[in-house]
Assembly symmetry: C2
Homo-oligomer: 295 residues x 2
């Protein structure tokens, strides 16, 4: 019979890892994280079966993707990751499932040099609540500080995750499938964005909704040029989400900045308090909004 | 139609509260928590419908109980709470449900002077992943540091939550019902325990399992006297759980300590690496173990 203890044992080698950042690791009532002379950046993200990933997703990919998606919020704050904790719900009674899940956790922990400091586990439909913790590279970049006249950049193409999920469902081989199940978070970009940007958000719910959030929080508007946006499929890539690229604004004075000029300049911040998409030099009527798990 | 935004609006007044501990509250990609010259104590706890609370539990009680249960782990570490974040899964399409849930969150935030710093919400069977954060009163008290010859204390009666749930199911009026739905966490006890105890754990999975964990982690055994244990119902109170009292060990030199002498002395730590329950001066054969959500 599978027991909570036998499942927790699958994670033991991960939480046993020594770190000078950790005073007490997992296995006690709580973890104790060493005090640092830096403000702590923290975010929570739930990934649920059938909502955030399909039913037949491999357990190692469930782990990897759930954690990557949560990390994306740190990158969007101009912060690097330091540790995570996981609240896992699963109804699998196969210990192999948990071992595979753990291998996905280990893979991403190693990739981003993070520590797993604890978590909880309970029985039910698969759902992963990931808590991420980090510290700012230079300073935290908020959604609420875009300024009129700022340029708008995105750090990569939209729609790759969407394409990957579609290819996977159609059992096609494609380079995009990994982009859905194992999205890479561009912390190297987050580092220079934390120096130069005036505002930033990660494109998880779709560019329209996420840039819309910058506009709303900053009390400004935006105009973006469809032809300048690197897309994978069609105009729906602008609202689909699952991109985990960054959208940021910065002063026009940064236009020749070597790091920023490698990103995609897609528009500018305006004073009109609305988000306009210009396509073939006409204003495109964009009725759809982005991702909403309750809609 | 209910939307993620309309639900998040229910929480807005809670996360908008100003605090000198918070640099960025909720509403951005992540929260930013002010650096403190103290190690951070962190724990995660999932409470799921039908597993950790019954189906018809009021939303305000789901919130209160889920958070209280998570806080209990901080108390067991000799730490006081400072802030929390919540990963909420719910399939309710009634905005009133979320308002009631929020009122339960607000109640317990006020009771323990904590701040809600963020969270996530998704659609599904009701489940609350609560992340708690705090700092040690004096020092953290681990499970692994009990010593042979130490005395074993518990801070309150066992089985009250069990009785409360039973009374509620039988539609009886009783003082115990609140003990199940709104358990109080004794941080005032945690404060002196953090000074005097050699080890500590919260009794959430049942005394037998939880004291067993102290023994296992400390490489010691324990002998407890059934007649000295304050119970509410019968001997099953020793393994049922849902108590959220503390079980701690301390040196016999503390026997006359005014604070500790108010708690219940139930036994002593032995060298025998097993947990024995003595009843009517005989060794009671305790086959049952404590709570396991997978068993």
């Amino acid at each position: 019979m599978i027991s909570e203890l036998s499942i927790l044992d699958c994670f033991q080698h991960l939480v046993d890892k020594k770190s000078d950042k950790l005073i007490v690791g997992s296995g006690d009532d709580a973890a104790v994280i060493k005090s640092q002379d830096k403000d702590l950046v923290h975010s929570v993200d739930i990934s649920k079966i059938n909502t955030h990933f399909p039913k037949d997703t491999r357990p190692e990919d469930i782990a990897y993707r759930s954690i990557a998606v949560a990390l994306s919020d740190l990158a969007a704050m101009g912060a690097y990751p330091s540790f995570i904790s996981i609240g896992l719900t699963s109804n699998s009674s196969d210990l192999g499932w948990y071992k595979k899940f753990t291998s996905g956790v280990e893979k991403i922990l190693n990739e981003y040099q993070m520590h797993l400091v604890g978590g909880d586990i309970t029985k039910g439909e698969v759902s992963v609540c990931v808590n991420v913790f980090g510290y700012a590279y230079e300073k935290n970049i908020l959604r609420s500080t875009a300024e009129i006249g700022d340029l708008i950049f995105i750090t990569g193409a939209l729609g790759e995750g969407r394409q990957g999920l579609s290819d996977w469902k159609n059992k096609e081989k494609s380079e995009y499938i990994q982009k859905f199940f194992n999205p890479k978070i561009s912390f190297c970009k987050s580092e220079y964005i934390s120096k130069y940007a005036t505002s930033c958000i990660d494109i998880s719910d779709g560019l329209i909704k996420d840039l819309g959030s910058i506009c709303k929080k900053s009390g400004v508007g935006a105009e973006i040029i469809f032809e300048e946006i690197p897309i994978t499929n069609d105009i729906d890539d602008l609202y689909y989400g699952d991109d985990y690229k960054l959208c940021y604004t910065c002063s026009p004075r940064q236009i020749d900045n070597k790091l920023i000029s490698k990103d995609y300049l897609i528009g500018k911040i305006t004073s009109q308090k609305e988000l306009l998409v210009r396509k073939e030099n006409l204003i495109f009527d964009f009725k759809k909004n982005g991702w909403d798990s309750f809609a």
